[in-house]
Symmetry: C2
Subunit: 312 residues, 2 copies
């Protein structure tokens, strides 16, 4: 039986192998994804992001357990753009989730860069689709850090929770400015620590200044993940946001935008591979760099010549 | 007189306008960069990276002052992939540098994303080239965070200093794994805080495990940037690394690799713009997404059709 049929029939092994194929950019990936595509679009995708040390995985853990209690099946994709590791429960923080991994209704997967130049957001999108086709009701996409690649990854979520903690130091201003736009809900984790109230006040001020949020004012929820405090309230906020985007048509709009971005990224990645074949594998790049280093030519001139030679 | 001549003649205004053109992807950027290219390749590029709150800008500030005392001219590019802001001294942490900004021998520039989809590492590379052609002896590229985009940005440096601080929390393991490869020198900032010795021991252990570093063992330098402690020693390490890569031919190899990456990124960016014109601006993308949402087709099929229609 082929891997797609097995996956659709509920084989966890087939799901794992599909995501490995996505990560490795195997030859058969496009064919698998083509067949899975008609079975996607049912899962509710929740993005969890925030700076390092904010306790995102513990929070995801607690949220996942709560959804399981409601009878929902759960997928978790932990994306770490700074880690070369991927596969099963390799990342240290995933080990905490051991009781979750024993639950057949939960599928956890870590994804790292594996040294590939970019493409992680496109691969994560495909992993979400695989879990969606597998039948997961709720899929968490959790990502360490708040750089551009992380923002791209979180853009694929239906609802995004930005996790912050008190006392993050000077750069918090910059972080907050960057993630203000992507946060549908803000969770102040470790809210029993000093500075939680101050952070809440600052966040509220920043949200007040923001003009984009005419329809939905992101709520700020205090949480102590380690004790489970505030998790039920956070889920209430997530449900409210989901209802809001569903009723206002915002969800359809978001998914349309996501489909556009995903398509363009896939096209860019496919073209990139084609170029690599034409320019890198043929040794042309080496001779280009020779001429550049001798200042006989410059990258801009060669790019234009290459475009002319490749495109119709 | 044209902007390139003005820049080469030492006009700070022309340099500022050139970097603005690079940021905005203006029509004339390629023409400007073509003319500047023969004048590049002289500056020593130092990358400064590390997690948020590590005190990177204060450290860069102190390093810049030290190089100025040695009679070197300095350029600083502060890249913030999470910030939509760019231009002059807009970022909060840059304001601390006010006495540096009064120094004619120093040129400081912040670069943010300005909402553009990627391309920041390619733009930063061009900004470095502009400062290089302008005649800066030492150029710092400082970037907040340690995500993939930041790693890409730092790859263009001749010597990369990774700044860490004691007590970063759980995710530090993941961060360290990701940046271990790019650090030529590790600076433990705020070394007067608790946990600095522990961090040094941990870092040493990780460096011992790493097999890539047969030729150069990254030194670990304790620094208290705010007081200037350890800055001279850090510069000594930077100089030693520069001598090492120069003598071993590693510098030439690195710059070759950088030229390749920059070329491929420029090609990818130019192709991206071409695709946007062909697919997005023509409205084709909208009709593609319509069919995808009706599950009449899938992104993989359309990408292959598009490739066939665009390529020779």
């Amino acid at each position: 039986m082929d891997i797609v049929k097995e996956l659709l029939n509920g084989s966890r092994l087939a799901l794992a192998r599909t995501i490995t194929a996505i990560e490795n950019e195997s030859e058969e990936t496009a064919a698998i994804m083509k067949k899975l595509y008609p079975h996607t679009g049912h899962a509710f995708v929740i993005g969890i992001t925030g700076p390092p040390g904010a306790g995102k995985s513990t929070m995801t853990d607690k949220l996942a357990r709560a959804y399981r209690k409601m009878g929902k099946t759960v997928g978790i994709i932990a994306v770490d753009p700074t880690s070369p590791f991927s596969g099963g429960a390799i990342l240290g923080d995933r080990i905490r989730m051991n009781s979750l991994t024993l639950d057949e209704g939960v599928f956890i997967r870590s994804m790292g860069t594996r040294g590939s130049l970019g493409g992680l957001s496109h691969k994560t999108a495909d992993a979400v689709k695989a879990m969606d086709a597998f039948g997961k009701d709720v899929i968490f996409v959790e990502t360490v850090g708040v750089g551009q690649s992380e923002v791209d990854i979180v853009k694929m979520a239906d609802t995004t929770v930005v996790v912050l903690i008190p006392g993050m130091g000077d750069d918090i201003q910059a972080i907050k400015a960057g993630i203000l736009e992507i946060g549908d809900i803000f969770a102040i984790n470790k809210a029993d620590h000093e500075g939680a109230d101050k952070l809440q006040v600052e966040l509220n001020m920043m949200l007040d200044l923001d003009s984009h949020m005419s329809k939905w004012r992101p709520p700020i929820q205090k949480v102590v993940s380690s004790r489970g405090d505030g998790i039920d309230e956070l889920i209430e906020q997530i449900t409210k946001h989901n209802e809001h985007v569903t009723e206002t048509g915002e969800l359809i709009k978001r998914r349309r935008e996501r489909a556009k971005t995903e398509f363009l990224e896939l096209l860019q990645a496919t073209l990139g591979k084609y170029i690599k074949k034409q320019i890198v594998d043929t040794g042309k790049l080496n001779s280009y760099v020779d001429s550049m280093q001798l200042h006989e030519t410059d990258p801009y001139t060669i790019v234009h010549e290459t475009m002319d030679s490749l495109l119709k």
